[in-house]
């Protein structure tokens, strides 16, 4: 793209380190809590509900008011505007309006002169509750028909008839747990009151525009009065898409009411209790298949625990349905999705956004089919892949970019899958206590927000008269390297070093009406918007030069050596100075909306995705049949990022996504007690992977290809898809458990996460099957 403005953009400076890498390693990257505290700062804490579902009969906050350092205490009655921090449905209260819907729900808000004072005072509220029926589990909610929206159905053909007519049939089910995001930087917001009712918010959020809009309604202001800024987050993973609003709104309320700056830095345990997590699912399946394991008919029932409010659960559960095919052709299929309302913290977005749950369901079906036939599950996977004439998803989208067969074939060879599977069998024949398993599973992940209007982005590019460049766009940086990728794109438009591009914090007063940085679409959307903004300026510069030097536009070329106009060569800075003197605007906005999307949600039919990203992984594991312990021994990955915008960053996303997925399926267990209290509310009890959980043998290769759709650089989204490569670990664990009774023709009853206790239970179940 450097030399030819008509070609598709191609970024020529790949593998730049993360733009903040030097700041990260020196501790100088500034997060919200690192900003110097103003002298009159107030610190905040919530008084929380101790009950899962109850009406508040009386609230005595005398002791809270009287506590050391307390400046103000707020309840719902103090909110004049909209008491709402929800993304869509209007049902998430900032402070409860009389009925609590889960343990940990914010009941009152304390502002004090120190963080410790606020937290201590928040524990002093005396609240009398009248208990109401609490549905804590999928079963309880189902029995009470407690739903956040009607059960959804996606279907093609007569699945039941196909199952009954099929030569073989397997019906079973399993559970998979939720997942805590465990971003290392907890939820935090700092609100500063400005003149004339304005509020400035620093928030660790993936969705500054949403917070801007919610705070405006909360304070009876207009969006133009509220500015939300985020330079970077210390991790997010979906957990700061909607969940940051609660803390930002609280800070804004206090700043507005007291006239003092207010910071809400949430304690880790409170954060884990109060904020949403990945949905846990209960899956039931009934599949009919032929002698080769080809699925002829499938009925799949996906029930999820959505928690107390709607949040993003409709779209998340839709995505679970969308990924219940993964890479497989399901000729007759019925997918039923129950979205259960429970009195637990509202489940929310988390990397994959329901996709992992749907995909794990179908991969389990494949494993069950293979077990019934006594076949290598990989053979059954291959038999079911999409292919010519069998290439339409259950929601009616034709898979036109299917590279799953080639990726699997390459990985099978590169990872020596067949030889290693034999070696695993030989090991299992020799060993009593320890058993090994190996599995290869593919990923096909749909890219776009399935809520079509969200697929838009804006950017703002300033070129200064000295040739330096500032960029701003609607995307937020949470570690995924979005800023770096966008900076590369803009630098390339002008053929200048990336170091000449200053990346600035995402702000709602620079780019308005943005979508959350989510759905892996950050670079696709914002990269293209920034490209368009930069191209606008480049075209102005080109026109200025062609007029000034009396040359055609084709004779103006932006090169690494400088800008060529015919035989002349100008430095970029010189050009900008001349353009300024020539009264040329050097600032432009850019905009992009993803084309070709058309999806009818009511019918669950159409094209919700612009394209698919693919990948596959082989995992080899060992289990201890005495204790249920396991170890992931080796992982090999081939993943499709299209033509990479930045291989270093993309590799990091693949590895990090895989390990996070491995954690979801192995060590990360959320435990609630019978009262609805989360027991695993700290890293002492909730265990994300550590360095030694990463397999010692771990290889990542890119699939050599490009996006068939004209995305920026023909790249593909990479944030979420690799997460699901870790399903290979779960499938391999299942294989290892099966080896404890190899004569059984059934898949072991393993639930996720595969904790030692779950593995032992599955071994016992399998042996007794």
């Amino acid at each position: 793209m450097t030399d030819d403005c008509n070609a598709r953009p191609v970024v020529s400076k790949p593998s730049n380190p993360h733009d903040s890498a030097c700041l990260h390693v020196s501790g100088t990257a500034c997060y919200v809590d690192d900003v110097g505290e103003p002298v009159d700062l107030l610190h905040l804490a919530f008084g929380q509900s101790s009950e899962a579902h109850a009406r508040i009969v009386a609230m005595d906050l005398t002791a809270v008011w009287a506590a050391d350092g307390v400046v103000a205490v707020f309840t719902a009655a103090d909110i004049q505007g909209a008491n709402d921090v929800s993304p869509v449905a209007g049902d998430d209260r900032l402070l409860t309006d009389g009925e609590v819907l889960c343990v940990g729900q914010a009941v009152f808000l304390v502002a004090a002169t120190s963080q410790r004072a606020a937290r201590a005072a928040a524990r002093l509220g005396r609240i009398d509750y009248a208990p109401l029926p609490a549905y804590l589990t999928i079963d309880a909610a189902r029995a009470a028909a407690s739903l956040i929206e009607p059960t959804q159905r996606m279907a093609r053909g007569d699945a039941q008839a196909a199952i009954e007519a099929a030569p073989h049939r397997v019906a079973d089910g399993f559970d998979m747990g939720g997942q805590e995001h465990f971003y290392l930087e907890g939820q935090v917001a700092l609100a500063t009151p400005g003149e004339d009712g304005q509020i400035h918010l620093l928030s660790s959020t993936q969705h500054p525009s949403e917070i801007q809009h919610l705070v405006a309604l909360l304070l009876c202001r207009r969006s133009s009065d509220i500015t939300v800024e985020v330079r970077r987050m210390g991790g997010a993973f979906g957990g700061k898409e909607t969940q940051a609003a609660l803390f930002a709104a609280a800070a804004a309320l206090v700043a507005d009411r007291t006239g003092r700056p207010a910071k809400f830095r949430c304690d880790r345990d409170d954060d884990m209790i109060m904020t949403g997590k990945r949905h846990d699912f209960r899956v039931a399946y009934d599949a009919g298949f032929d002698d080769d394991g080809r699925i002829l008919g499938l009925r799949l029932r996906l029930a999820s625990r959505c928690g107390a409010t709607v949040d993003l659960s409709p779209a998340i559960n839709d995505r679970a349905m969308f990924h219940s095919d993964n890479c497989y052709w399901l000729p007759a299929v019925e997918i039923v999705s129950e979205r259960l309302k429970t009195h637990t913290v509202s489940a929310t977005a988390f990397r994959g956004f329901g996709g992992p749950q749907g995909m794990l369901a179908i991969e389990r079906v494949i494993d069950a089919v293979a077990a019934r036939l006594g076949r290598d599950p990989l053979d059954v996977r291959l038999a079911n892949l999409y292919g010519p004439g069998r290439d339409v998803t259950p929601y009616g989208m034709t898979v036109t970019d299917n590279i799953a067969p080639q990726i699997i074939a390459r990985l099978r060879a590169d990872a020596r899958y067949d030889a290693r599977r034999q070696a695993v069998e030989a090991f299992n024949a020799r060993h009593t206590v320890l058993k090994k398993g190996i599995a290869l599973t593919p990923v096909k992940f749909g890219i776009s927000f399935t809520t079509t209007h969200l697929n838009q982005a804006g950017a703002l590019v300033h070129v200064y008269a000295d040739g330096s460049i500032q960029i701003n766009h609607g995307g937020t940086e949470m570690g995924q390297g979005l800023y770096t990728k966008v900076a590369q794109i803009v630098a390339d438009v002008f053929a200048v070093p990336v170091s000449q591009v200053r990346i600035t914090a995402t702000r709602t007063d620079k780019v308005p009406n943005t979508s959350a940085t989510a759905a892996s679409a950050g670079a696709d959307l914002n990269g293209m918007a920034a490209y368009n903004a930069a191209m606008t300026i480049r075209e102005r510069l080109t026109g200025f030069l062609s007029r000034s030097f009396d040359r055609t536009a084709d004779e103006v070329r932006f090169t690494a050596a400088g800008v060529r106009v015919g035989a002349e060569l100008l430095g970029f800075g010189d050009l900008c100075r001349k353009a300024y003197m020539g009264r040329i605007s050097l600032s432009a906005t850019g905009y992009y909306a993803t084309p070709d999307l058309a999806y009818d949600r009511a019918a669950h039919w159409g094209r919700p995705f612009y394209y698919f990203a693919y990948g596959a992984a082989v995992a080899e594991v060992a289990i201890d049949t005495l204790t249920g312990e396991h170890k992931v021994l080796a992982v090999d990955i081939v993943h499709d990022v299209g033509r990479s915008l930045n291989p270093a960053i993309d590799t990091g996303q693949i590895e990090g996504g895989f390990i996070q997925g491995q954690g979801w399926l192995t060590t990360e267990e959320l435990v609630f007690d019978a009262h609805g209290r989360l027991l695993t509310h700290s890293p002492a009890t909730y265990k994300i992977p550590t360095a030694s959980d990463r397999a010692r043998h771990f290889t990542i290769a890119f699939w050599d290809g490009e996006n068939v759709e004209p995305t920026i650089n023909r790249s593909k989204a990479v944030g979420e898809p690799p997460f699901m490569l870790a399903i290979s670990v779960f499938s391999a664990l299942s294989q290892a458990i099966a080896a404890t009774a190899p004569e059984r023709r059934s898949v072991p009853p393993l639930d996720a996460p595969a904790t030692p206790e779950a593995i032992l239970r599955a071994i016992a179940g399998h042996r007794g099957a």
Partner: protein
């Protein structure tokens, strides 16, 4: 009295110190050194990792150790040197480790990164634990973004030198009088220099909270928001920090940090070394003490089961003198220990297993590293001429205290050392324990795996591979 420590080769003096102010909060909110992050405020994520240095035994060099600043109280820093992420900047330039990490994709969101840099920097300069495998050095640092590969790669990619000669002199000059103390409002703290002074203080303030590494008490403050009236910091009493290694076994001072006991325990038996490796992360082992792990009476402390199985005795001291009891007798009930008013745990003696002893200890947890046991089982069987002549078996996580398995022991003693005996004895464990179901495991699971661990001992003696960790290492 004011508190003094050395930061970047300058003495920092804090008058009127809040004895339960954490080092992390002081750095971030009083000194504007915000590079050190709070991830959890309970010592589990390592985002707040800093290096604390003291003169080594010969007083010639500084011995650095990585600790979690979030649960370190300021008085614990008295007389020591401190390095934070900001200390690493040299005229604004990155050191080679930082430069390598910046270029290697070792950070994504960057929030955990300063903690990893400090852990790896410590390894590079020969800090305590530097000889451990890299994954063990960073087992106490959580990263949610990278998957760890690019961080692990950085550890061996660079060499760093550090000149502490000036600091050695400064630390010598900072030499501390016997007891340092201070008052803060109506609260007070003491840092005695000798065990005798400690005995006097414990007698004078029988309700005082004794703090060694604060890996437990720290959470009382950061999570429990407790106000503690009197604190006595005993982590720097030299005699309590001694390890004496003889043919008989080990005598370990109560204030010996787990990291400092690691090698000696591993020499006593390899399983004790492995148990210690999995005792918290390195930052926790750099603070937590062998005595504190016993004195706090936790039913799931990792030390007691193994120590009880080995026949450890505990010495308690007061101004009235010392008394020595079998370790298992110290644990009277949940939250109740045999520590009289005015007493403190002074030391323990761990007998060396004999050549005819079969010893094994296993810890089961959801995650291998930096996790708390669901069940921890320790077994010492004395086998002579194929006959089990003695058996000491103890479990953590199976009862309200670390507890011996009397029925199981009875089913072993006097029996031939055979699989049939082991199977019978394993079944007897069901009569010894009535465990609870909790967040770390159900009662049924605990009972099942308790028996499994005895079977594991049997398979181990038969030469069978018994741990998936062996496979992971072998596949290397």
């Amino acid at each position: 009295m004011s508190l003094r420590f050395i930061l970047d080769n300058r003495v920092v003096e804090i008058a009127n110190v809040d004895p339960t102010a954490t080092l992390l909060d002081h750095l971030r909110y009083r000194m504007a050194r915000t590079g050190t992050k709070e991830g959890c405020a309970e010592g589990d994520c390592g985002a707040c990792t800093v290096l604390v240095g003291e003169l080594d035994a010969g007083q010639q060099a500084v011995r650095w150790r990585a600790v979690n600043a979030c649960i370190m109280f300021l008085p614990m820093l008295h007389g020591k040197a401190l390095l934070t992420i900001e200390s690493l900047a040299r005229d604004g330039a990155l050191n080679p480790l930082q430069a390598y990490m910046a270029g290697n994709g070792s950070s994504q969101c960057g929030f955990c990164t300063p903690g990893f840099v400090m852990s790896l920097y410590g390894r590079c300069i020969g800090a305590s634990g530097h000889a451990l495998p890299v994954a063990d050095v960073i087992a106490g640092n959580l990263c949610r973004c990278t998957g760890y590969g690019p961080i692990l790669e950085a550890a061996d990619a660079v060499r760093l030198d550090r000149d502490d000669s000036e600091l050695v002199t400064m630390l010598r000059n900072l030499a501390t009088p016997d007891t340092v103390s201070g008052e803060f409002g109506d609260r007070r703290w003491f840092r005695p220099g000798t065990a005798a002074a400690l005995a006097e203080l414990v007698a004078a303030y029988p309700d005082a909270c004794l703090v060694a590494g604060a890996t437990d008490v720290g959470l009382w403050v950061t999570k429990g928001l407790r106000t503690i009236a009197t604190l006595i910091f005993l982590g720097d009493i030299a005699t309590l920090g001694a390890i004496i290694e003889t043919d008989d076994g080990l005598t370990i001072g109560a204030a010996v940090r787990y990291a400092d006991a690691h090698d000696a325990l591993a020499r006593l038996h390899p399983d004790l070394g492995e148990l210690t490796r999995r005792f918290g992360g390195l930052q926790v082992r750099h603070a937590a003490t062998v005595g504190g792990n016993i004195a706090n009476g936790s039913p799931i402390g990792d030390g007691p089961p193994a120590l009880i199985a080995l026949g450890t005795t505990l010495t308690l001291r007061s101004t009235a003198g010392c008394r020595t009891i079998p370790l298992e007798d110290y644990f009277l009930g949940y939250g109740k220990q045999d520590r009289q008013l005015g007493e403190f745990v002074e030391s323990l003696h761990v007998p060396r297993p004999g050549s005819d002893d079969v010893f094994h200890v296993s810890k089961l947890s959801r995650r291998f590293d930096s996790d708390i046991s669901a069940v921890c089982g320790a077994f010492r069987l004395t086998v002579r001429d194929g006959l089990i002549v003695n058996a000491r078996i103890a479990f953590g996580g199976m009862a309200a205290t670390p507890k011996r398995a009397a029925g199981c022991e009875a089913a072993l003693i006097g029996k031939p050392f055979t699989q049939a005996t082991i199977v019978t004895a394993a079944a007897a464990l069901r009569g010894d324990y009535t465990p609870l179901s909790d967040v770390r495991g159900s009662a049924a699971y605990r009972l099942e795996v308790a028996a499994s661990l005895l079977m594991r001992l049997w398979y181990k003696t038969q030469g069978e591979a018994i741990s998936v960790l062996e496979l992971a290492a072998a596949d290397d």
